[in-house]
Symmetry: C2
Subunit: 242 residues, 2 copies
Amino acid sequence: MPSKTRFTSVWAREAPAKPPREQPSLSRGQIVRAAMELLDTEGMEALSMRKLGARLGSGATSIYWYVANKEELLELVLDEVYAQARVPDPAVAGWRDSAAAFAYGLRNAILEHPWSVALIGTMPSLGPNAMAVSATLTNAFELAGFTGMTLDYAASAMISYTLGATIPEVSWLNTVGRSSADAEEWMKAMRPQMEVAAADYPALLARYQDFEKIDINSARHVCFDFGLIAVLDGLEARLRQS
Amino acid sequence: MPSKTRFTSVWAREAPAKPPREQPSLSRGQIVRAAMELLDTEGMEALSMRKLGARLGSGATSIYWYVANKEELLELVLDEVYAQARVPDPAVAGWRDSAAAFAYGLRNAILEHPWSVALIGTMPSLGPNAMAVSATLTNAFELAGFTGMTLDYAASAMISYTLGATIPEVSWLNTVGRSSADAEEWMKAMRPQMEVAAADYPALLARYQDFEKIDINSARHVCFDFGLIAVLDGLEARLRQS
DNA sequence: GATAAAGCTCGTACACCGTGCGAGTGGATT
DNA sequence: AATCCACTCGCACGGTGTACGAGCTTTATC
């Protein structure tokens, strides 16, 4: 499936939707689905073309008929993550609720597919699902009363906060482990480093001790919520002043 | 340099600062510096242990005396990016200005080392420089009047927004190219896909046409600013109500 | 000064990776 | 019957990270 430009993204290369003629034994959708399963169960570094081929019961290089690159495959897979982050109709939910629902939806989609954070930093999110999500969000802000460029900036701010809050969180979870016991153990392992850092920033140590008392997993949630409310408040203020 | 836990981060493994004795021909600092140079000039996929060894004038595997893994090397390198994002003293600048300066500083550091976004999604930022940045920022918010957990949440919100705004921007720049001419060409290449997407979201098309009229590079800056102000406003509101 | 130990370098080798290429297959079209 | 086309895939190439162990050089111990 050819047609080349100097740009390296699938989305810049293909006029989508062409009519399939027969039933070949592979398909793009099937490949992408299998890749996601592999990623979900074994993580990013377990995804190789050979393993993917094996899981599909075909030769590794057969995949290249449907996909130009491994990178292109990953673009498709990433867009599928955005497909899981659908936003409720802002017309029925009200802009603030539906913006918040968007944030939770995107966050959950990413948390369910932790490997996706490695992709977000590697390739742009320009697939149809990513665009649909961002378009729905922008709709919500249009309903709120934002206009012109401000409309895009506001939507962009929401996306930014959501990604920025979720990405480091997932990176952390990926190396610490997902249970509370893991987190506790981790805090213990980090203690000496923390004490060294606290030599320069004394207040840090006190806060660190606070952290040891609370449940980190619920704090993560509260923290996300706090920032989300701040962003929404900030945007709402902007709205009233115009 | 041994000592192992089940955690895979450098920062959880080492009690830092041990006295070096002689002058061996390599050093951690030297290795990290060379790696950054290579990354800056040739990008992420050009960094291999062999190439790095060659640039250092030594064998590829010599590096493994100073660093357990390639991943560990990358952790060190990422922390060096945070070293370039120092925050002004909040006591002299006032909390709002110094939070804003933090945001610009971090953003610029990342933009100057575009490969860093691939790392942020891959490993946690727990190195001493990252911690210093976050500690200074937290100081700023303490000065602003935030207390207890809210203090951390507020700082975290700022970091989240900044990362979340910068990461996709860099991903985009990495594939589109950095000049305005590239961006224009890109917009043209994306047009057909855009029109397909606009079938579902009619408002999208109109906005796309707006985009073609403005200078994208300056819009990026304005967009970041807009969100930044919203976040700061949102946090300030939170402050007043308590 | 001799001997042992520790610190450090690096060539070799292994398993694995993405993927270009070209031969092979089976059904549809002419 | 011949041609074509959509599709599959084995092989091979040039790379990758890094385990291992043999070597060298400096320090510590007697």
